[in-house]
Subunit: 285 residues, 6 copies
């Protein structure tokens, strides 16, 4: 669920970026009264994401445009499937086309990649796939939403919403126990304390210091299994860094609670979505 | 070259996105006076891009931080190579780390991919690789800069900076000649007129109508060659859509002037760059 | 055509400028439920421009106001002619009156001046009158639109949408040929290369370097004619600087392609438009 | 005096308007390290205004630029006189030139026109020339400052800073007395009450109702004199509407306290100011 | 009366502050289609203020929500009384609840305190209770409106809307007379001149210099009476600083014109208002 | 710790609110070159908070002003104690005075109230006093910081940073267990699950459903004790609503973990802080 009031400023910046000088081509070639229907169509199998943003782009540009959702958010669409329709002034549709597609291609790209990672989990697994804070500057809200739409989970939203103690924090605090203790004393009581550990002894120290979540950094497969055993009943186990689709099943079978994947947001290729315009469009539904 | 005044609002939005609730972990674990040096390090071979943005992130966050460029913009860095250094308050460095990396990983990712496409051109080729308007909403300025840093060229910036007539415009205008003529009459005299064509007859019409640039849509390889021949001395030839590294050389050899590649900005994977913190940093240079 | 989404922030800034402290007079003297109709009326012959902005001001201020266009955009209105009507809350109309008029007086002033320059061209002339980048800070989009509404053309929109090489660029680049060559190599292929020349030999160099457009700086009338002759078939000829209504016809007859006029936007006097309020307004149409 | 913090957002919008797509010409032709000095030079006699804005434009664009004030704010400069200098990166100076000039040409244009109106007052006159709220949307702060710089005075700043009752307010309130009384009861005690009157009887009613200022609308010359006599010792007299340089002296001699002139801000022609660049600039002072 | 266009940005910032990371609880527990009615209810006797802001919060968040005013602005509501209703998506109501209440609790708190001060005036008194510029940063417009809603008056809005000469200004100007004279010469003719005085001789000097309003600083009760006598017919008398409900009647009886109270805006406790949600709400009216 | 980059926009809005029309008084009475020192002085015992904001206000207004911290953040200052000094242009200091004080009076007021609540805890108590989301719209970041400065803790920052299930959520989800389970499944693994309970049986259900924190709503004192006993070792216990200084010790002795107090931010009276200006200021330290 996206709050339109918060999406609108992001959309407006994108429209301004493309349109502040007008649209030379459309104004010259398309008559002012011409009407059309634009259909967003999947160019291959994708997880659909961004309908609200698609609608917001066109509504901001021209409130008289009418947008219809044809394929539901989160559905797996096939090549050629219509996702959304926009109907009204041909000029307005052409002027918003690229901006709208730039959003939904990215969002659907992320949702599609998230779905692939979730799909790589063994049947019945309770392991979570999560994103990270490696999001596109300015688009975190949209990208986290796309991750959820793809069936994965979100990690902490910001530096202020949860504690994640990394190596530099540990050094600065003077050790694992000191770091966990200080964070516990300072952070809101609503927040869990997560800490990154590099070895099994460090894990033991983190567990004994009362960490709620341990993040294993660079653990060998058998060390991961051992870590899960030691943490059992005491803390959740998260693995991050260099996660591939192949490793996901192994980690899940080892009993890891959370696998966080930066690539979900920083390296998802754009989903292939195009906009087909026709001058006499009849409603799809 | 990036204008800092215009980069700053983009950076501020990114900082606000991550830090408006403070940094629970750093504030709890890192003493206020602690000083450190952070070194941005390449995790593999990449084309370096984003030094000015890296600096702006840390300067906005804490004007007392000192940023040094170690590897020049546009250079090819190897795994382990230091790109930039930031020195000062350990807290400030830790709080800005993720935001800074989110920018430079994306920008260097784009520059690296652009360099690969440019590198795929035959020796001595005058064919241009360009981006498209398929950029990340809100980051077009940074991404176009990254494309140039990687050695490729920019296509038109916005809908208002040049004319590109597509199929829907042609239909709306009532044909190729009408579309070109109207665009010529309406657009600034500083702008060339580009038109997308789907067949050789359509190309001929575009050339006779006086188009400055023709974009070949879905032309078979031998048609491309024929198109180049017909356009010779009359118009530039651009090819777009489904461009792979493999096709680039073929198109260049066929004499195509411009190859535009949406993937440069919409699907470039993030470059692998990390930030190594050490508590006693001596200057690199 | 103006994109409302991009006009709205400009309008909001103007409303905030005038109304953030409320309207002491109206709140004290006009009852909350009072209704009125306001008619924007021309105080002399003007080219009408700004209906969309007029509407946006009142709609932003009070979405229940109803705005009607009485005289079409671009029409030549006579003294006393009603241009637009706004109907609804008397308080809201009074609060928005000044802001709305400040916009449309400026826009119609520019359109009116543009029309005069266009009207000064000889019958059947193909010479273009264009604006420059000498626009009011923050209002370029509106002013360029007003120029077009008056029948003139736009020059390049921004420093990033086309190349215009001036004397300082030539010096810095090391000569006309170097400047043109570098610009050609660097600028998007969609952009023409314009260069300012001060003498006939410089013009020759620019033509031989392949400039697309030459701008004549301070050429005597007979030199202009000679320049047009030499550039024929090779480049467009633009004249700028100190253009008066009187010179326009001469330049057009000399075959100049483009005459750019800074005064269109930087020195157009405000059009005389007032708002007449009546307490019981019947619809005009 | 201008508050830089409040000028900066206005300047940033102007820079973004021109530069968000970069500066194709400068980046292509001017080497990155080139240094220059730019001198803003008057093209005719003008009242100098806008030095702080000139500086802010260049400092925002490139904090390493150095700006020097050569001619003081408010001075009358002659053709050829240097007003300000900017020294540093040639690229940065060229990129900011147009934006800086757009501001100072407008501001100096207003100051120059204001000076002419003030100069039209008889020797020793205490009559004030003031501006109105007919300012350019988004630039009111700068334009009011320019009016003061030219030696004229400001009228009320916003609808919330003082009361000015016009004909529509009077009708809505049910008469002059009711309007004045209500405004007195509602407005801050720090604010005077001004009312527009159309006839001498209306003036009498306004005076007896305790108006602090009366604005004469469309009064014949002898009526103005009579109005001044009747208002003497009771209220200030302001005349507005259709004020020319010629009428100013007459009105002042008639004893009018305030003459408000919309043209100061809505129709002042741009002052002629150019920027001369030289590659080796020695300091002027 | 509040201008919605100017309230909206304030509301949007507040929504962003709370909701940019979504609403974890509501999204997890409340089904997307669930509908509810929320009733804002007074927890004790309060002066009702903020209905337009309440509506704006919910409309910005979700335009499909329907807000009804049940108790009129400015009314005195009793414990348990319904003030406003919002009807529609249960999710949207829950997501906006806190933001809406944060606004109206503050506004109603100020209105309630203002009413208490006004109520402390003797029957028939013409003394004004006013606010000061000691408002919450970013909320001045809303707080001044709340003061008026409570029945008190506003003092000057900004540093630019009226003159108030304090001790430091007097010292800098070289005395009371010089300060008043300079202010008179410089300030708009629509503005009164107020000056703060500390002794009776200083008061005399201010009166003789022509001050319009004198503000008594730290005057003993009998000195206040004497000051009122001396100022009679020459200037209004304002008292500020350390005003309690008890002192108000005394000051009014002494004939003071204006009593300004910083606490109205800087120390008003929040009004007790809660939001009761029910899943099947029937319209109240 | 406050991030200056994020404080700056808040400060700029406040400055614009007060200064967009200039400062009539200061510009008229204080010479441009006058220099002064302003000392912020406590008017009674307060917990000092807001030094960074004080500095930011003056630096934004005039970068040449020099601000010194005299009393450390979080210290208890006595009446007459100097907190901060600002030195430089007398005009700039006077123009920023009110804005700076409006911030620090509010922040110190909150810190002072927070300290009183923390001081009401029994010696050695581990009970936390926390704020709530009942903060001033637009100032949450500053107010949460003030709460910490006073020695209390923050509750969750936003609706997106932790889960807090209230009665309406429980009803919508179909019961306590369903609500907790759904929240657990949906929320980030870094977040604890808090739920509000109204009876002991409801508490039991919450504990058995695995809630991490239970918030007791309207529990009688002996019920609180019983709740603490039942929750022991299973969940943290929070009490909220109608908390007075008197109740705090009782709740702490009963073993409650967290006491959240809305009044900390919504009803803290402004701290008494004034700015003393002197024309020849010698450094304090």
């Amino acid at each position: 669920m996206l709050v339109t009031a918060l999406v609108r400023p992001v959309v407006l910046r994108a429209l301004a970026e493309d349109l502040e000088g007008g649209d030379l081509t459309t104004e010259a070639t398309v008559p002012e009264g011409a009407r059309a229907v634009g259909r967003a169509i999947a160019g291959g199998p994708i997880v659909v994401c961004g309908g609200d943003v698609f609608r917001t782009v066109f509504h901001e540009l021209d409130p008289s445009l009418h947008v219809t959702v044809v394929t539901e958010e989160g559905a797996l669409a096939q090549r050629g499937q219509v996702l959304w329709e926009v109907r009204g002034s041909a000029r307005s549709i052409l002027m918003g086309e690229r901006t709208a597609l730039n959003f939904v291609q990215r969002m659907s790209g992320i949702a599609t990649l998230a779905r692939r990672f979730v799909g790589a989990l063994p049947q019945g697994s309770v392991t979570r796939i999560t994103d990270t804070r490696k999001t596109t500057p300015g688009l975190r809200m949209l990208e986290r939403y796309a991750v959820r739409t793809g069936g994965a989970h979100n990690h902490r939203d910001t530096l202020g919403s949860a504690v994640l103690i990394k190596d530099n924090h540990i050094v600065a605090a003077g050790g694992v126990r000191a770091a966990v203790t200080r964070a516990r004393a300072r952070a809101p009581h609503t927040t869990r304390i997560e800490i990154e550990v590099e070895t099994l002894p460090m894990l033991d120290e983190a567990l004994s210091a009362g960490a709620d979540i341990v993040m294993l950094d660079n653990f060998a497969p058998d060390e991961v299994a051992e870590a899960v055993k030691r943490a059992h009943g005491k803390a959740q186990v998260e693995v991050s860094g260099g996660i591939t689709l192949e490793r996901v099943a192994t980690l899940a079978r080892a009993g890891v609670d959370v696998v966080s994947v930066g690539a979900l947001t920083h390296s998802a290729p754009a989903a292939d979505i195009g906009l087909d315009l026709s001058n006499e469009g009849a409603p799809t539904t």
